[in-house]
Symmetry: D2
Subunit: 321 residues, 4 copies
C-alpha cells in the first residue's frame, strides 16, 4: 500500500471537463492512498469581499485534480473511495461563500430564462479552521468538511466539471466526508478519477449555489470492487442521518437527474435492487418496505442541469447483519 | 381549557374534500384539546391481505374528521396544533401497507400517462402496537406515529383530501408527530381544521404511496397565533433531524408544490423570511446562511399533484436565543 | 331548439371558483343555443393604460358566467359545445393586454419563489373590432377570437377559475373558436357549464399571461354526447393547424397537467385511445403512427399550476372516412 | 463555391459523441455546398420487422457524419445551413419506425426509473420514396424529410449524439427541411459541424422515439454569419406553420432544455432579443406582443435529457419589412 502525493505542482493544469481525453496524472494500485491538494471552486479568484463573482470569475469554474488511473479497474466495476481526512490549507481567510449572478435556487438562471435583473451579489470571506467557521458574533458553523466534486470518467462523452452525473461529479453531497466510503461506477479502464471542490460546511441543498468553499488537502484510499455494480454513486455513512433519530450507520443510494422526482426514483430503484439482492425480499415487498422506512434527502439543487437525491436506510433495520 | 371528543359517531360523515362548504362538527376555544377518532386512509376497506386495493377501494379515499371551528381564528392568523399523543385503535391486524395500481413513485400513474400495465398489487396487514410493528422475523419497524393529513380550509375552493396544498392537507410529513407543533395558515373564519390519515411509521418520501396506515385516536391542542403569518405549513420539531448529527430541536418551513424544485424554493424562501424577521440578517446573507446550514428533505413524493419539501435549521445555530 | 340569453344582469354574481356548490343560472335542453355576455378576465378593472394591475385588481380574477345546467347530461357523458360566434362588446378601447406582477412565463411567480423584484408592469389598451386590433402603425393583429375559460364542474371539489383542469377551465386554447366544437367530460348531473374570459387574439402559449382580453357576447350551441367518454377536453378544428401545411380539418386531444411532459403524454394517450377505438390499429401501431404524424402544440404555459398541450391529427390521414 | 462530397467511404468512422476531440473529415469555405451520405439512426441494424431493437442494436446509436470545418467560423459567430434537398438512399424497404424498450414518451425510461416491464416492441419496415410512405391500404404518409441531428461542437465538453443541446444535436426538428435555413452557434474555430439521422416524416413531438428513419443524401449549403449571435438554434421557415392559418414564412427561435417549460422560456426569450434588436419595441412590449402573436410548438419530447420547443412569429406581422 503506497501513499501518493498529488500537489498543485504535480497536478499542473486542473481540468474543467471530466472525460477520457485527458492523460492521467497518477497511476495507483488498488488499496493505495492519495493525498490531493485541491483548489476551491473559484480557483482562488475571490480573495476579498470586494471581489465580485461577476467581475473576477473566468469562463470556467470548479477546477478538478486528476484523472487518477486505478490499476485493474474495469468497466462494470465500482471504485470505492474512503475519505480519511480533509484539512483546510492556504492563507486565511480561506473560506469563501457568495452568491453568483444567475446561479442558485432562488434566482433566475441561464437555464431558466426570465426577464429579471440579476440578484445583488454578496461575498463573505471566512476564517476556516477545524474548530469551525465564525459567521458573526452569534453564529459559528461547525467544521463538517466533504468533497464537493468527485467522479470517474464517462466512456466517450466529456462532462462539464460543474455538472453532477451518473459517475459522480459536482454532487455537493455532504456525506462524502471523512469516515464514509463512496462507490462510483467504472466505465473506462482505470476509472479515471477526478476530484476537487471541497467544502468546510454545507446544508443539504446548497441552496444559494455556494458552500463554504475552501482549498484543502484530501487524504483518501481507493480500492476496486469488481463485485459491485452501481448505476450511480452509493455510499456508506457512519450516521446519524435521519429525522427519526436513529444515530446509527446507514447505506444510501443516489439519483442524479435533471428532475428531482426522477432523481428520487433512481435512488429508490437502486435501493430496491440492493434489498432484493441482499435480503430475502421480493421487489414489491422491498418497495413497500422503503415506503415505510427509507428517507429521502435533497443533497443539491443548484448544480444545473442535474440535482442529487439520496435514499437512506438505517443499518439497524437489519439487526442480524 | 376544555377537552372535546370527536368520536366516529359524532363525526358521522367523513369528508373527502377540504373546503368551506361543510358544516363544522365541533366549535372550540383556542387552547382547547381535541381527541379525535380517525379512520385509516382506506376507511378500513382492506381487512385481509387478500383484499386487493383495485377491488375493494371506493371512488374516494382518505376520509377526514372535521371541520373544527376555532373561535377567534381570522384570515391571516395561524392555527398552532401541538400533537400530544397518537394511539392506535381498532382490532388487530390494524396496520395496512400496500401498493395501489397506478399510484406511487415507481409506477405510471393517472397523471403520468404511460402504456404499461399496472404493477402487481401487494397488501400487508400488520399488528400495530406502541412497541412497533413486526414486519417479519428479521425486521421490526419502530412505532413513530404521525398525522398524515391535517389542514385548514381554503377560502372559496375545495380541495381533494388526497392532495397536500398550502393549507396542509395530505402532506404525509413525519414531523407532525407527538411532541411537535405545526402552524397552518388561516383563510376562513374559524380556520376549519380537517385531520385524519394517521401512520404508525413512514419514511420521508412515502415512496410506494402507503405508510403503515392505522386507525388512531389523536390528542392535540389547538391555539390561535394572530402574530404568525405563514405562507404554508411550518413546524417546530424536537429533533434529531439532520445528517450532520445535531440531535437538537429545529424549526422547519415547508413548500407544497407540484414540482419538487418549486417546493424546495418555497421552503427556503419562507425560511429566509423568518431569518430576516427574527435575526439581524439581510436577505442575501440569510440566503447564503441557509446554503451552508439548512437541510432539505423530501417528505412526500406520491400524493399527486403536490409534493412536500421541508427546510430545517437547527435551533443550536442561534445559541443565544 | 331554444335560444337562451344570459346577460350581465341575469348572471348577477359572476363566479371565481368552479364547482357544484353554486346554483345554476340557466337550465337548457340539449341542442339549445346560449348567448352569453362575458366580462374580460379583469372584470373591466383596467380602464386606461395608467391602471396598473398591481393597484386596480382585486383578490379574485377571471369571472365566470354560469353554471348552465344541461338537461340529461349524466356523469360519463360529454357535453359538446359548438361556438357559433364571438362578438366584442362594450365601449372602446375594450381590449386589454398587460403584464401582471409575479405572473407569466418569463417571471418569478408566487409558485416559483425567487428573490427578484417584480418585472415592470406594462398595460396596453387597444381598440378591438372584428377587423382586427391595431397594435401600432406597423402592426395589426387579426381578430381571431376564442373562449379562454370554459368547463364543466368537478364532482365534489371546487377549482379556482384561473386554473385549467381535466374538465376544461382556464385553458386559453385558441382552437375554442367560432366554427369549432369542444367536448368536455361530465361529472355531475347537468354538467354545470361555466364560461367566460374571451380573447380577441392570442398566440399559442400566451407567454406573458394575458391575451387581448375583451368583453364579448358568445353564441354557442350545447348538446349531450352519451356516446363519448373523454378523459379531458377534445376538439374538432376546421384547421389549418400544422407546420407541415395541411390546411384541413383535424381532431385534437388535450392534456392538462402541472408538467408539460405529463400534459403531452395525456394528449397522446387520449389520441391512442381514439385511434384504437375507431380504426383497425393495435395500440403499439397507433403509438408509432402518432410519432410520425401527430403534432404537439403548447396552448398555454401561464395559468398555474396547470398547462395545456394538444395533439393534432389531420383528418386527411384517413381519406376514406 | 465548391461542392464537397462526403460519402460513407470518405466518412469512414461515424461518431457517437459530438465534441472538439475528433479530426475534421472535411474543410470547406463559407458558401460551399456539401453532399452527405447519412446512415439511419440505427446504422442499418434493423433490416426486417423481425429485428427487435432489444436484440440487434449496439451500445451506441445515431451515427454522425463530420465534423466539417468551416473556414473563418469563429466563436461567437453563427453558421447558417440552408438545406437544398434530402434524398432517400439505399435498398428498400429503407424506412424504419419502431418502439425501443425503455425509450419514448409513454414508456418508463432509463431516466425515469419505474418497476414496469418494458413495453412490447414493434418494428415497421416501410418503402420510402419521394412520393410518400405507404403505411397500410388506408394511410399514406407524405414525404416531408428533414435532418434529425445537426450541430456544431461545444468548446471543451463532448455530448452524446442522442442528445439535443444548445448547439443543436438530436433536435428532431421537422423544420430543418429543404428550403429552410437553420442558424447554429459557433463555439470552436471552424464550428465543427456534425449531422445525420434523417427522417422521411415525423410529427412534432416524435412521441414514440422514432420517426420514419431513413438513410439519405443531404445537399446543404453552409455560410458563416459573424453578425448573428444565437444562444441556441434559430431558423427561417417557408411556412405554413400556425394553427391560425397564416400560410406564410416565419422566423423561429428554439429552446433546448431538460424541462419543457425552460425550453419554452428560452425560445421566447430569444425571440424577445430579436424583436428588441430589429424593431422599435421595448422589451416589455415585445413580451406582450409574443403573448398575443407567437406560437409555441413542441418539436421533440423523447431525446432525453433535453426537449425542444420552438416559438414562431409570422413574417406577415411586419408587413413593411
Amino acid at each position: 500500500m503506497t501513499t501518493h502525493n498529488l500537489t498543485e505542482e504535480m497536478q499542473g493544469e486542473y481540468h474543467y471537463t471530466v472525460g477520457p481525453y485527458a492523460d492521467p496524472v497518477l497511476e495507483i494500485e488498488p488499496g493505495d492512498t492519495v493525498e490531493v491538494e485541491t483548489h476551491d471552486a473559484f480557483e482562488g479568484a475571490i480573495e476579498t469581499e470586494d471581489d465580485l463573482p461577476s467581475e473576477v470569475l473566468g469562463d470556467y469554474l470548479n477546477p478538478q485534480n486528476g484523472p487518477i488511473y486505478v490499476e485493474g479497474a474495469e468497466p462494470g466495476d465500482a471504485i470505492a473511495i474512503t475519505i480519511e481526512s480533509i484539512e483546510p490549507r492556504g492563507p486565511q481567510p480561506r473560506g469563501t461563500t457568495c452568491t453568483v449572478p444567475y446561479f442558485g435556487g432562488l434566482s433566475a438562471t441561464d437555464r431558466t430564462a426570465m426577464l429579471h435583473d440579476p440578484l445583488p451579489e454578496i461575498v463573505k470571506k471566512l476564517e476556516v479552521t477545524t474548530d469551525g467557521t465564525v459567521w458573526n458574533d452569534d453564529i459559528t458553523i461547525p467544521y463538517e468538511p466533504f468533497i464537493g466534486t468527485i467522479s470517474t470518467s464517462p466512456e466517450i462523452n466529456s462532462v462539464d466539471a460543474l455538472t453532477p452525473f451518473k459517475h459522480g461529479g459536482n454532487m455537493d453531497l455532504p456525506d462524502v466526508c471523512p469516515g464514509n466510503t463512496i462507490y462510483l461506477p467504472v466505465e473506462v479502464e482505470g476509472g479515471y478519477v477526478y476530484l476537487g471542490d471541497c467544502h468546510a460546511a454545507q446544508g443539504d441543498g446548497e441552496v444559494c449555489v455556494s458552500a463554504i468553499e475552501t482549498p484543502t488537502e484530501i487524504t483518501a484510499r481507493l480500492t476496486v470492487r469488481p463485485d459491485l455494480d452501481v448505476p450511480a454513486p452509493q455510499f456508506e455513512t457512519a450516521g446519524p442521518f435521519t429525522p427519526s433519530g436513529r444515530d446509527e450507520p446507514a447505506y444510501a443510494t443516489t439519483g442524479v437527474r435533471d428532475d428531482l422526482m426522477d432523481a428520487a426514483s433512481d435512488a429508490v430503484s437502486a435501493m430496491l435492487d440492493r434489498l432484493v439482492a441482499r435480503y430475502d425480499l421480493s421487489r414489491p415487498e422491498a418497495y413497500v418496505l422503503c415506503s415505510v422506512a427509507a428517507d429521502l434527502k435533497i443533497n443539491e439543487v443548484v448544480d444545473a442541469p442535474n440535482w442529487v437525491v439520496s435514499a437512506y436506510l438505517a443499518d439497524s433495520l437489519f439487526p442480524d447483519e
